[in-house]
């Protein structure tokens, strides 16, 4: 029997939540590599690392903002972005915003004792904001998908 749009959206919704956890783990582990060799960012390997981070950040932000499933039908995408999902996304972005503000305050304080470069500051704030938004969204989606 063919899958209905609702069933497809339900399946993709679960897959998206699982994928966001995995992508968040990849994204955060990528930072370990960046900070372990951040003094060597002028080489082509360093440029590659920065480019990979920028691209992944942009893709994750786009995925968060649109809900993903870009190649699915309009009906499935509408179901994938229904009322609950939009609410979860708003909460994710709000938490990401607060995480970014708190991180910025933290860096400001640290910078009083040890200088932090502009690039590192942007890198840390953006990474934490995206990771917190993703993890909040994924956690809320997983929780909502559990059987009542």
């Amino acid at each position: 029997m063919a899958e209905t749009s609702s069933e497809t959206a339900e399946r993709l919704s679960g897959k998206r939540a699982r994928m966001l956890f995995v992508l968040a783990a990849i994204f955060l582990s990528q930072q370990a590599s960046y900070f372990s060799s951040r003094h060597d960012l002028v080489s082509s390997a360093g440029h590659f690392k920065i480019a990979a981070w920028v691209v992944l950040s942009a893709v994750l932000l786009l995925m968060l903002a649109t809900g993903g499933a870009w190649f699915r039908s309009a009906e499935v995408r509408a179901l994938l972005n229904d009322e609950t999902t939009r609410e979860h996304r708003r909460t994710g972005f709000a938490n990401g915003f607060w995480a970014a503000c708190l991180t910025a305050i933290g860096i400001y304080v640290v910078d009083l004792f040890e200088p932090v470069s502009g690039r590192d500051t942007v890198h840390i704030i953006l990474t934490i904001a995206i990771a917190v938004a993703m993890l909040t969204f994924a956690r809320l989606e997983r929780h909502a998908l559990r059987d009542g």
Binding site: T4, S13, L79, D82, T85, E87, A144
Partner: protein, 68 residues
């Protein structure tokens, strides 16, 4: 004291012999949304509340009420 929007969604849905997925299909949302509304985790918009009431053939004020 806090107020919350309570609902009789699950009761009415089971009375009609509908699954969460079937009700979701009727109102054009995912089962996840029905699940969160039933559990009181998510407060639906006025639009969704009316759609749910229509789908379950019950006045909206019988389906949702404020609990104090």
């Amino acid at each position: 004291m806090g107020e919350r929007l309570a609902n009789g969604l699950k009761l009415r849905r089971t009375e009609l012999g509908l699954t969460q997925a079937e009700l979701a299909e009727r109102v054009g949302v995912t089962r996840k949304t029905i699940n969160t509304v039933e559990n009181g985790v998510f407060t639906p918009s006025a639009m969704l509340a009316i759609k749910l009431a229509e789908a379950l053939s019950v006045p909206v004020e019988k389906l949702f009420w404020i609990e104090r």
